[in-house]
């Protein structure tokens, strides 16, 4: 941060300003005219975060992005490399990991080979999702298998109950309907009205 924020710093800058001859350009100029002149320098570069390098075409390469979205950043953020490097701009790990992905990609390796290289170097935790093989297969299959088993058990149970009801001679006895003073015609209209809404 610039020392202009302290009183002493302010007077120093003021004093230095008085010594600048009229017409001389200051060392740092903030460009206020879009698209004209040189690119200006920020008054307080440190406040704008870690200095960045210009984006290269490989940074925007969809294939590289897709690979990076399958690889975890090792900074502890729980994000993938692409998301971390384009979100947490204070992270120093994700730009480095990005450089590694780009290097591997440029050396002609396929996505699968790049992922394998990362697993070899950083361990299985480098992948955003474990490979569906071996013990990890349990991770993918157990929820679906549990639901399918429970669903099958439910269907079996319902089927058995239905069969038991049928063996007992039809459906369970319905409750005695309340006495009604309505005529058969009125009851029929009521039935039709209820069928209409069919709750």
């Amino acid at each position: 941060m610039s020392d202009i924020h302290s009183r002493r710093g302010f007077f120093r800058v003021l004093g230095a300003g008085a010594l600048i001859p009229l017409g001389a350009a200051p060392a740092q100029v903030q460009d206020s005219l879009a698209g004209r002149g040189d690119v200006g320098t920020l008054r307080d570069p440190a406040a704008a975060g870690r200095p960045r390098q210009p984006t290269r075409s490989v940074d925007d390469n969809a294939e590289i992005q897709a690979i990076e979205q399958r690889l975890a950043c090792s900074c502890g953020c729980t994000l993938d490399i692409f998301t971390c490097r384009t979100t947490d701009f204070t992270c120093t790990y994700s730009p480095q990991l990005h450089t590694e992905v780009v290097a591997l990609h440029q050396s002609g390796k396929t996505a699968r080979e790049i992922l394998d290289a990362f697993v070899l170097k950083y361990g299985e935790k480098a992948l955003m999702a474990p490979k569906p093989a071996g013990f990890n297969l349990m991770g993918y299959l157990v929820p679906g298998a549990a639901i399918a088993t429970a669903g099958a058990a439910l269907l079996l149970l319902l089927g058995r109950r239905k069969a038991a009801v049928a063996r007992a001679g039809g459906a369970a006895p319905a409750a005695e309907p309340p006495a009604s003073n309505a005529s058969p015609e009125e009851l029929e209209r009521l039935r039709r009205a209820l069928a209409e809404v069919d709750d």
């Binding site: 941060m1 924020h5 460009d31 206020s32 879009a34 004209r36 200006g40 320098t41 920020l42 008054r43 307080d44 570069p45 440190a46 406040a47 704008a48 975060g49 870690r50 200095p51 960045r52 210009p54 984006t55 925007d60 979205q69 975890a72 953020c77 729980t78 994000l79 993938d80 998301t83 384009t86 979100t87 701009f89 204070t90 299985e124 935790k125 992948l127 955003m128 999702a129 474990p130 990890n136 991770g139 993918y140 157990v142 929820p143 429970a150 669903g151 439910l154 319902l158 109950r161 239905k162 459906a171 369970a172 309505a182 209209r189 009205a193 209820l194 209409e196 809404v197 069919d198 709750d199």
Partner: protein
């Protein structure tokens, strides 16, 4: 004030222990004065915790940096509303917040519950106060918010920049309100088990509490998504982070309960299941708290790692064992009154709906814990991130969406083939037409196509239900369509409020599916330079970097990068994204620079701009540009969901209210030609 706060915490502990001891010993039975004492001690505990909370707030507002918590989470130049919300920003303060809100809920439950449940209330008081006592113990013995430092710093560290967002003021309290209020239905369930009053009475007593809790959780989760979207800057709103998952788990099981409880009310079935769901939901809320506070699983949302995790693990184990043992001992008394008659019935549809809700909850829990399991079994650390959760849960979510449309179409008890045909033709046609239109428009993402087609099907179901209800009223009463619509909803708020919630769910799914079509690019631009970005809706955005300006404001130095936008050649305004370097009152940097996203939100898509930084301190800026389709609908869905839930719980109009003139829930049927009432 810390002395007063400490004293209040100890007072709460002693009063709470008295309440719990008398309640669980059962000595209040037949002794009205002891029964009254149990209930009054709930209010007393609440009073003590309110005093403790006010003490902490006083310390925060007065910048008493001798209090460790105040120094750790605030600074002199922190805006007052964030100073206020710092109460729940850290581990210790949020424990106190939890305890005081739970004691307020416990008091409200005692005050608002009708007298016909009076014999349950001392048990309810005991359970709620036991949970409060646990939180007070955690504070007094592991994470005391009134702990003092050996010196007084000139200024505090300040609040984490990512928490300096309006979402931080609203989102955590909403989520906490949801988590905390789950204790009330749990307390009633335990009270019913203890008192052996296992009819549907306890369910009627907790229905609104459950809805309130469910609503707060839903709002909290949605606000959390909004906060993540506007503040974290990664362009999305849900990352399957363990803490996000932890908030989803109790919401899923509670949603299952809200459906299955209807079967118990209407048919006297699923009593054991419902009690199990309530107990499970409570345990999941404690489990979520354990995950957030123990540091056992890496999460961006976690509080500082501390030993409070052991307290929560112990409490979780004790609460689980006691609750399920109690349920087991009452098992024979929880026999269903009737049996399910047909697989083709609404009861069966609700059963499968419950299976899916609980299955998804299990799947999310399984994925969240799988890294720990893997490390235990294989000794290998793995990461379980969004690709895993999407692969496992998206198909289950789509099945659930399908059931959202199927359930209301099937009749209670047993549906006939003719009934099924009549009910399904319209909604299925809507779904098929939606699919055809999407295919014709060139959409090819399988899951997005499925989600949108099923959303069409569910929309067809909802519209059909409203349409048939209105048509029936118009035929029977000769009412105009708007009047028939209004009365239809007013006469059965629970049913039609539920359909509004279903509408919200389909809106959520539509919004989720939009992210399958997102576009993004990185670009480095000098002032005046432009890039073009095409949106999935075919719009062309031209983004021109205007420059970076720097200025100081209350507690930060802002570097604001501005982009002028044209959409399809027409000016669409300026969007600014910022880097913020927060400083304390002595202008010393407090945290790493944070990013503020610039968003231009629309019904079709959001233009999402992130200023990644400047090139070597110049005005040349590195940006990430995203076009995120249909995100606006997610926030709109949140409003629809809240509206539907409020409609559902609005007093009166429910099928349980005495309505002798009503032939069937939701419809006032007057026989044609009969004398008007």
């Amino acid at each position: 004030m810390t002395l007063l706060g400490q004293f209040a915490l100890w007072a709460a502990l002693l009063l709470g222990l008295w309440c719990v001891a008398i309640s669980f010993s059962g000595r209040w039975q037949g002794r009205p004065e002891l029964s009254a004492s149990v209930v009054r001690s709930v209010y007393a505990v609440c009073g003590a915790l309110v005093v403790a909370s006010l003490s902490l707030w006083t310390g925060l507002i007065n910048h008493d940096f001798n209090i460790e918590y105040v120094a750790a989470y605030t600074s002199r130049n922190l805006p007052s509303y964030y100073t206020f919300s710092a109460f729940w920003a850290g581990q210790k303060g949020s424990l106190l917040f939890w305890a005081v809100v739970l004691s307020l809920f416990a008091s409200a439950a005692q005050l608002l519950t009708p007298r016909r449940y009076a014999d349950l209330m001392p048990h309810v008081a005991g359970v709620t106060t036991a949970v409060v006592v646990f939180f007070v113990c955690v504070m007094l013995f592991a994470a005391n918010p009134f702990e003092r430092l050996g010196f007084t710093p000139a200024d505090g560290r300040g609040l984490n920049p990512q928490l300096q967002n309006v979402g931080m003021v609203i989102h955590p309290p909403m989520l906490y309100l949801g988590y905390i209020s789950i204790t009330i239905p749990f307390a009633f369930a335990v009270a019913a088990l203890l008192s052996r009053r296992l009819d549907t009475g306890w369910i009627h007593a907790i229905r609104k509490w459950t809805l309130v809790s469910w609503l707060f959780l839903a709002i909290g989760i949605t606000l959390g998504m909004w906060w993540a979207y506007v503040e974290l800057g990664w362009g999305g709103y849900w990352a399957w982070d363990p803490v996000e998952n932890a908030s989803l788990l109790p919401w899923l099981t509670m949603t299952a309960f809200l459906h299955s409880v209807m079967i118990q009310e209407k048919r006297g079935m699923l009593k054991r299941w419902n009690l199990g769901l309530i107990v499970g939901t409570f345990l999941l809320s404690i489990f979520g708290t354990f995950i957030t506070r123990s540091g056992v699983i890496a999460s961006v949302h976690s509080f500082t790692q501390s030993n409070v995790g052991y307290f929560f693990l112990g409490f979780l184990a004790v609460a689980g064992v006691l609750s399920f043992t109690l349920l087991y001992t009452r098992w024979p008394a929880l026999e269903a009154e009737v049996r399910l008659e047909s697989i083709l019935s609404r009861e069966a549809a609700f059963l499968f709906n419950n299976l899916l809700f609980v299955g998804i909850a299990f799947s999310v829990l399984w994925g969240t814990l799988f890294p720990i399991l893997s490390e235990l079994v294989r000794g290998t650390k793995i990461t379980v991130g969004p690709p895993f959760f999407n692969r496992v849960n998206v198909p289950l979510g789509l099945l659930l969406l399908a059931l959202t449309g199927i359930g209301p179409l099937i009749a209670w008890r047993k549906a006939s083939a003719a009934n099924l045909k009549r009910q399904f033709v319209g909604p299925v046609s809507t779904g098929v037409v939606t699919l055809a239109v999407l295919l014709a428009l060139g959409a090819r993402d399988f899951y997005a196509l499925m989600a949108l087609s099923l959303a069409g099907f569910v929309a067809g179901t909802i519209v059909q239900e409203f349409y048939r209800g209105v048509r029936a009223r118009r035929r029977m009463h000769g009412e105009s369509a708007p009047l028939a619509f209004g009365r239809l909803v007013a006469r059965n708020r629970r049913r039609y409020g539920g359909y509004v919630v279903h509408l919200a769910v389909l809106i959520y799914f539509v919004a989720f599916s939009g992210m399958a079509f997102r576009r993004e690019m990185e670009a480095t631009l000098k002032p005046g330079e432009s890039v073009e970005l095409a949106s999935p809706f075919g719009h062309i955005y031209r983004l021109t970097h205007q420059g970076i300006s720097q200025y100081e404001t209350l507690n930060r130095i802002v570097s604001a990068a501005t982009v002028s936008v044209t959409k399809d050649g027409k000016p669409a305004g300026l969007i600014t994204s910022e880097k913020r370097q927060h400083v304390d009152s002595f202008k010393r940097p407090t945290f790493e620079p944070s990013t503020e996203v610039g968003i231009r939100s629309g019904l079709q898509e959001d233009l999402y701009i992130v200023f990644a930084g400047s090139v070597q301190g110049t005005e040349e800026a590195v940006y990430r540009f995203n076009v995120n389709p249909l995100v606006w609908w997610l926030w709109f869905g949140g409003f629809v969901l809240a509206f539907g839930a409020v409609l559902t719980m609005w007093p009166g109009g429910g099928p349980l209210a005495p309505a002798p003139a009503r032939a069937q829930a939701g419809y006032e049927v007057t026989l044609v030609g009969a004398a008007p009432k």
